[in-house]
Symmetry: C2
Subunit: 442 residues, 2 copies
């Protein structure tokens, strides 16, 4: 007889994303104290039993690591569908920024982030990396809902430049407030972009992040225009500019990277900077297509992100994987690039690497945190199941996820959210949205 | 007191896709004898009631026309995920064609088509246009499951050319067999492509289609290589070649059209040929991106299709809409092209136009056939709901569809399929797939 586990998952198909564990048919996965403590093939015959407080039967299901969203602006769920199909700058300057200036506050951010977390859990995400304002409210939403999150307090020098010493203090205080608060929560810092932050802001915020050993995220070369702005202003390409400001290292996450020249890719590779690829947002905004296959060739670690819902318009990483796998094939006119396994890695183990959490999450291995999702595969679009990687990337949907465990705690079971009052949160965000809607209804 | 309806749908939000009906909050839709007989805003107060055999409460739901998939190869669900991320010709010649040669038969086509129909209904599709071999089995699957379908018997001269008089007879017999059999079923004809069919096959099959007043579908310029083949062989661009063979008219559906020159678009427009756009398949195969915004400017009617699941790998038109709306924005570097409404039209009224069925389906209007789907919008990714077109194209998922009515008959209610034995069909296709899998497992 084995010792007692908190949760046993038994049956179905385990896709571990771990090279050593591989794929196991009919697995038994034991979870204890938030961690994966046992992985084995189910023994048949009499006398084999596992004692557990809770046993999940995964027959006809696929068990895999929870998905990792490396770039979000969760509170922007309130702006979902508010202003679509517009030119990027009109969208940003005439719709998003004015709505943010008027409606973003502590309470809005908390309610919206909670709704966004519900949407993420319902579509298989167990870890996010968010950057926004009032980020303490995002942190609180994550804590309250049992979600794993990297919460980046955001900084931007538009419309008015910040006083570097003041924002340094704000950044330090934010990290102090949240560091060590929960094993699921990591505070971090974000500068909006090279074109929207002063050199002082870019480097002083990185200094704080470096001292605190936390991630630093920044939008890089999302649009062609941004590259021109930096070239004109500083006589350099954006990545070289950031290198010269000393903000590039293993803990810097460069988001988008749609317009990189080869020399910039080499810099990212040399400085071990990781990249968050958000294909759906960049397609929808007509921003561009990042040179991901080339970055991979150069050894850069790439994770996937959805970006905010105002430019996506959902937080479903299954859709994002499908798009990521397809768009580069046509961009390179080569159907062999970005194969299903490569793309699945981007939302699991490589996503974890981007966030510096690959020792804890991103695959199902003994000793790692129990961040696990279970998908119901007893559905027509799962038949036949020749290749689970292909199925997950090209055919699965977020709605296939039935159960989700984060850090050993069940947050969803049979599609019921266990850690939040969903009807109340939906009502709250609908109320906020009604106020936003009044501004642009005629 | 009103007369009795077969079905009343009451409440929620009606997105009719009809210019005259528009969007109605709190609608009442009455269905009688397979047709939409009543559309009005729900009257409040006492004394208002609607007598119906069945009443569907659509509170917190969106009601809209069922989606139309203008290009499928349904039986290929058996090859889903069998050979992904390969070069197109290797995929086709070393995997798909040999598997087809060995495993495609009447029984396989019936079982696979039924599974595919289940997948389509579960994701909101109510009409498909299919082209394959043993198409009578697809017709039978559609009839048995209450699905609306255009079933095209397919012709190809690879590996061996057909005798034109023999295939003419086959084509005529196929149409005779199915024409008038059911109001939901329309037999039609398909030639595989200009490069894979002889000129005699292309024109003799079109002659049969023309005499029978049925659609004629053909893959056109899916890859760049095909264009070169036709240019070399006939000294013309593919569309000009087809025009000169006299196969272009209002009932010809040109599928893919990824590599059209401007003069070819003008020919399609002049001959009123419609286009089936299958973006996900063409991305995945690295085949190309069709010039859809230009075709729309030239007044060509465009519908969406998923293509077969071997190159997609699902039959979910919601994902297809999302991809269609996004891919052209980045291809044209213009975020205003292919707005949500344009794309939604492609799976509804314009899809109906492509199939020549716009007098019957594609929108919710009195007198049209009751092909209606109901989506549950009481979910996080539906909040807020500023713009239902945006929501459907950019955020909704096939799994949001809860109820589906085709020709007045309920085929799905609360996600339960009512016209087929799903577990039995899944078991059957799994058995067929196991045999296919043996060929390529080591």
């Amino acid at each position: 007889m084995n010792a007692e586990y908190d949760i046993i998952i038994a049956g179905g198909l385990l896709l571990s994303v771990s090279e050593s564990v591989g794929i196991i048919e009919n697995p038994v996965i034991g979870i204890r104290d938030g961690r994966i403590d046992l992985i084995e093939t189910m023994k048949t015959g009499a006398g084999h039993s596992y004692r557990a407080k809770e046993t999940l039967d995964a027959t006809d299901c696929l068990v895999m690591p929870g998905l990792i969203n490396t770039h979000t602006h969760l509170p922007m769920v309130c702006f979902r569908g508010m202003a679509d199909d517009l030119p990027l700058m009109e969208w940003l300057q005439n719709h998003i920024w004015p709505a943010e200036a008027k409606h973003v506050n502590r309470e809005m951010v908390y309610a919206a982030a909670t709704l966004a977390i519900a949407e993420m859990i319902l579509s298989g995400t167990t870890t996010f990396c968010d950057a926004y304002f009032y980020e303490s409210s995002v942190a609180k939403a994550a804590l309250d809902s049992g979600m794993r999150g990297i919460v980046c307090q955001g900084f931007i020098d538009l419309p008015t430049p910040n006083d570097p010493s003041r924002i340094t203090e704000v950044a330090e205080r934010f990290i102090e407030k949240w560091q060590g608060k929960s094993p699921l929560l990591i505070p971090a810092l974000a500068c909006h972009a090279p074109y929207s932050c002063s050199p002082e802001t870019l480097s002083s915020i990185k200094d704080v992040a470096r001292k605190a050993h936390v991630p630093y995220t920044i939008h890089v070369s999302e649009t062609k225009e941004e590259v021109s702005i930096i070239r004109e202003q500083y006589g350099k390409l954006p990545v070289a500019y950031l290198r010269d400001l000393n903000v590039l290292d293993r803990r810097t996450i460069a988001v988008h990277c749609n317009w990189l020249e080869e020399a910039e890719m080499d810099i990212l590779s040399a400085f071990d900077v990781t990249v968050s690829h958000n294909p759906e947002s960049s397609l929808k905004l007509a921003a561009g297509i990042a040179p991901i296959p080339k970055l991979l060739q150069k050894g850069v670690t790439v994770g996937l992100g959805t970006d905010g819902t105002a430019s996506n318009n959902d937080l479903d990483l299954f859709g994002e994987m499908d798009t990521a796998a397809k768009i580069h094939k046509v961009a390179e006119m080569d159907s062999t690039v970005m194969n299903a396994r490569t793309v699945l890695n981007m939302t699991t183990i490589d996503g974890a690497r981007v966030l510096g959490l690959d020792d804890r999450i991103g695959s199902i291995e003994v000793g790692k945190s129990a961040d696990i999702i279970i998908l119901d595969t007893n559905k027509p679009h799962w038949i036949p199941l020749f290749n689970p990687y292909s199925q997950l990337v090209y055919a699965a949907s977020g709605a296939d996820v039935v159960t989700s465990i984060i850090g050993g705690r069940m947050v969803m079971r049979d599609r019921k959210l266990l850690t939040m009052d969903l009807p109340m949160i939906m009502k709250e965000v609908r109320k906020i949205a009604a106020a936003i809607g009044k501004d642009f209804s005629t």
